[in-house]
């Protein structure tokens, strides 16, 4: 038996023993996710237990070094863990921007002290992070941000406003882009700082979205304080960290594929609404054609996602490729949601009825419109492809 086989057997046994039954059912939505943090209320004992057990092994961040609380697994082992979790339908023990975003940045750009201080609480789900990037006047033009940080010796005083801060109202700490040199060219005067959200100068107001959800906040800083020791990388070099994280984010989003997984396949959903002809074809022939065309693109994109992942693993990927994936994947997901709505007809329009699961189809459809905006609009991705891959002149 190879080491990996042993690892698999051990992992399987451990999961079997430690994953609560309740945590082996598919999450029904965002409400079932475990986000951790100081303000988080566990939805059940099982959820708490599952987080604690996984965190103790460092498996909430399986590939992070054990020194920082991570699992210390190799890529191959991490894949085995993922497979074994999938086998029993185990839910992710922790959803965390700390793990997805800040961690990778700290591992690359942070000091030893920063890693030691911030990574372990992330792994344990004790501190929940949010991302302070976009501002009202700086969306696609992220580097145009205006939030100012003034140097006060051992700390900065921060004033300004962020927008699209995911779950800022529920986060404990923020990783934030601030302008430390207003006189430098716009990319050159930005720093990447960390600070506590529980302080008088910070206010987060949830934004109501067209889907009726409120994932995001407007976040206001009035003389908020960030310690100098929490400056990541050098002063005025925050754009390097931001660029790294943006690329990482795009990769993550593009890796998400078509989303909406687990639901009924489109053709079946459509048949429920419109019925079928004698020979089994969908009774609405134009909808059928649209679905058939979508299904081809969708299958092709799955192949592309596989190719993309394989190439990245092998270090062969074009660095602008995530832009292409992000563009194509999100546009496809929007299309999918349009077809779900068309297939669902008037039933799918219901917004809060029980049968509609509180308007799940309609809300997911509206939510999907954000896919091609967040993490860089489709237009920005097309600009990137055009410049960096096709090398078209500007």
């Amino acid at each position: 038996m190879s080491d990996l086989d042993t690892f698999r057997a051990d992992t399987r046994a451990w999961l079997e023993e430690n994953c609560p039954a309740e945590m082996r059912q598919p999450a029904r939505g965002d409400g079932d996710a475990c986000w951790g943090g100081r303000k988080f209320e566990f939805s059940s004992d099982a959820q708490k237990q599952w987080l604690e057990r996984m965190a103790a092994k460092g498996w909430t961040a399986p590939m992070w070094p054990a020194d920082y609380g991570g699992g210390g697994l190799s890529a191959a082992e991490a894949k085995v863990l993922q497979q074994e979790m999938a086998r029993i339908n185990a839910r992710p023990p922790l959803s965390s921007f700390g793990i997805w975003m800040l961690g990778p940045a700290l591992l690359k750009f942070g000091t030893e002290a920063q890693k030691k201080e911030h990574l372990p609480p992330i792994v344990r789900g004790e501190i929940r992070w949010c991302q302070g990037y976009s501002e009202p006047g700086a969306g696609s033009d992220l580097a145009g941000l205006q939030t100012k940080a003034v140097d006060r010796g051992d700390h900065y005083i921060i004033n300004g406003q962020k927008v699209w801060t995911s779950y800022a109202d529920q986060a404990d700490w923020i990783f934030c882009l601030v302008r430390t040199d207003p006189s430098a060219p716009k990319h050159k005067g930005i720093s990447f700082v960390l600070f506590d959200m529980d302080q008088p100068g910070v206010e987060a107001r949830p934004i109501k979205l067209i889907s009726g959800y409120s994932f995001f906040c407007e976040t206001y800083f009035t003389d908020a304080r960030a310690e100098k020791k929490n400056l990541v990388y050098e002063e005025n070099k925050g754009w390097d960290v931001a660029k790294y994280l943006l690329g990482h984010e795009r990769e993550m989003i593009s890796g998400m594929g078509l989303g909406g997984g687990g639901g009924k396949p489109l053709p079946a959903m459509a048949k429920d609404a419109v019925g079928e002809e004698a020979d089994g074809r969908l009774a609405d022939p134009l909808l059928r054609a649209e679905i058939a065309m979508f299904e081809v693109r969708s299958a092709a994109y799955r192949a592309q996602a596989e190719r993309f992942a394989d190439e990245f693993k092998a270090g062969r990927g074009n660095p602008a490729q995530p832009s292409m994936m992000k563009y194509y994947g999100t546009e496809l997901n929007k299309r999918r949601n349009e077809l779900v709505m068309a297939a669902g007809g008037s039933d799918a329009l219901e917004w809060d009825s029980e049968e509609s699961g509180g308007g799940k189809k309609a809300r997911d459809w509206l939510r999907s419109k954000g896919n091609s905006v967040e993490g860089g609009t489709s237009e920005i991705q097309l600009n990137i492809i055009s410049k960096r891959i096709l090398e078209l002149p500007s």
């Binding site: 976009s134 006047g137 700086a138 969306g139 696609s140 033009d141 145009g144 927008v163 699209w164 934004i207 109501k208 979205l209 067209i210 009726g212 429920d272 609404a273 419109v274 019925g275 609405d284 022939p285 134009l286 909808l287 649209e290 929007k334 349009e338 709505m341 068309a342 669902g344 007809g345 008037s346 039933d347 799918a348 329009l349 219901e350 917004w351 809060d352 009825s353 308007g359 309609a362 459809w365 509206l366 419109k369 954000g370 091609s372 905006v373 967040e374 609009t377 489709s378 237009e379 097309l382």
Partner: protein, 378 residues
């Protein structure tokens, strides 16, 4: 008749435009929605609509109406679309009034004055499944004494939970899929055995699911002939689809207008985003689609007013074309608004929601394009 608005029609448009913009702009819709209003429209506004003559636009002058046609009705519907105004005008003043033209005088004598006065609201109960398919009507109307007993379910009945009058398609003969054997009934509010279950939709409008459990109606309730409801039903649907197309066009035009304004105002990289050629070309393409859709809608309305046989086909074209065009308009609108387009604070998302509801109303673009193909024999 030239394919543009006459001077009289333009005057009506100017007056409807001013009236709706002042009385029922998007803020009006927001107010009803945020108050979680369960009625689905504002009765006071409905009476004002009546005072303007909008609710009696299709009634003849003899009947106390304006004696105008579908072009004029569409002019008002487009303004309603532009302002996302919740209003029972489409179901009441247009679809129901058109249906009742085909019935006995007893219906018109009873309902036209109330509708003209803004004292009654009507709803259209045709759909039974999630997708529009009137020939599939399965609800039964069994003969019982001199009258009928209606049993079955209807869905997507806008204003169905508050309507004084329901126009109901039911089957007195034939079987689901047949055009023959359908009969149209006028059913009154509070009929015994009728249950209405109102549902809030994505656009904050309210549509009811109706359950008919042996609802008794007299023979007088029949609109047109027994088993011969397909004719009046199609008059209703022709008028309703044309009006829905006009409202849809208003939604698309409204979305395009606010988006073009946003392109001029919003700055990124130090310049208005409307100066980016990629967005310019998309906005220009959308403009072209809207102009073509507008022509299709006007053509359908004119042919309906002429009583032309070609109206039927033109209505299919108008509903399909506005379906696609307005869907494009709201998609482009939300995407070009980017982040703020995702927020409830900006109006563009409301246009997207309204567009989706109207896309389904009386058949979506696929339905109408398919019908055209079948009727053309391919």
């Amino acid at each position: 008749m030239p394919l543009y608005l006459t001077e009289d029609q333009e005057m009506l448009r100017d007056s409807a435009e001013g009236f709706v913009r002042e009385k029922a702009p998007v803020a009006h819709m927001r107010k009803l929605r945020d108050a979680d209003d369960g009625t689905g429209y504002d009765p006071a506004l409905w009476r004002e609509f009546a005072e303007m003559g909008f609710t009696s636009i299709l009634m003849s002058e003899d009947e106390g109406g304006l004696g105008l046609g579908h072009v004029e009705a569409g002019v008002v519907m487009e303004e309603i679309g532009k302002n996302l105004t919740p209003s029972p005008l489409l179901s009441t003043g247009i679809a129901a009034v058109a249906a009742l033209k085909h019935g006995g005088a007893q219906h018109r004598d009873k309902w036209y004055p109330k509708i003209a006065a803004g004292e009654a609201v009507a709803a259209i109960a045709v759909d039974e499944g999630a997708k529009h398919d009137p020939a599939a009507t399965a609800m039964t109307a069994a003969r019982s004494g001199n009258g009928f007993k209606l049993s079955g379910r209807k869905t997507f009945v806008t204003h169905g939970h508050v309507a004084d009058l329901l126009i109901v398609a039911a089957r007195t003969g034939g079987s689901a899929g047949d055009a023959d054997g359908i009969t149209l009934f006028a059913v009154e509010k509070g009929a015994k055995g009728l249950k209405a279950d109102p549902r809030r939709l994505a656009d904050a409008s309210i549509a009811a699911r109706l359950e008919f459990d042996n609802v008794e109606v007299t023979a007088d309730a029949v609109i047109g002939e027994v088993d011969g409801g397909w004719g009046p039903l199609n008059a209703l649907l022709g008028a309703g689809r044309a009006a829905a197309s006009a409202e849809m066009l208003g939604v698309g035009q409204g979305a395009a207008d606010i988006t073009v304004n946003y392109l001029k105002e919003r700055k990124q990289f130090g310049v208005p985003i409307g100066s980016f050629q990629a967005l310019q070309h998309r906005a220009a393409h959308l403009y072209a689609e809207l102009e073509v859709a507008r022509a299709a809608v006007l053509k359908a309305q004119q042919l309906l007013d002429e009583g032309s046989e070609k109206a039927h086909k033109a209505v299919h074209v108008a509903k399909a074309m506005t379906g696609w065009t307005t869907t494009l308009a709201v998609q482009e609108g939300v995407q070009m608004h980017a982040g703020v387009g995702m927020t409830d604070e900006y109006d563009i998302g409301l246009y997207m929601k309204r567009g989706r509801t109207l896309a389904e109303l009386f058949g979506d673009a696929n339905y109408h394009a398919d019908r055209l193909a079948r009727e053309a024999g391919y």
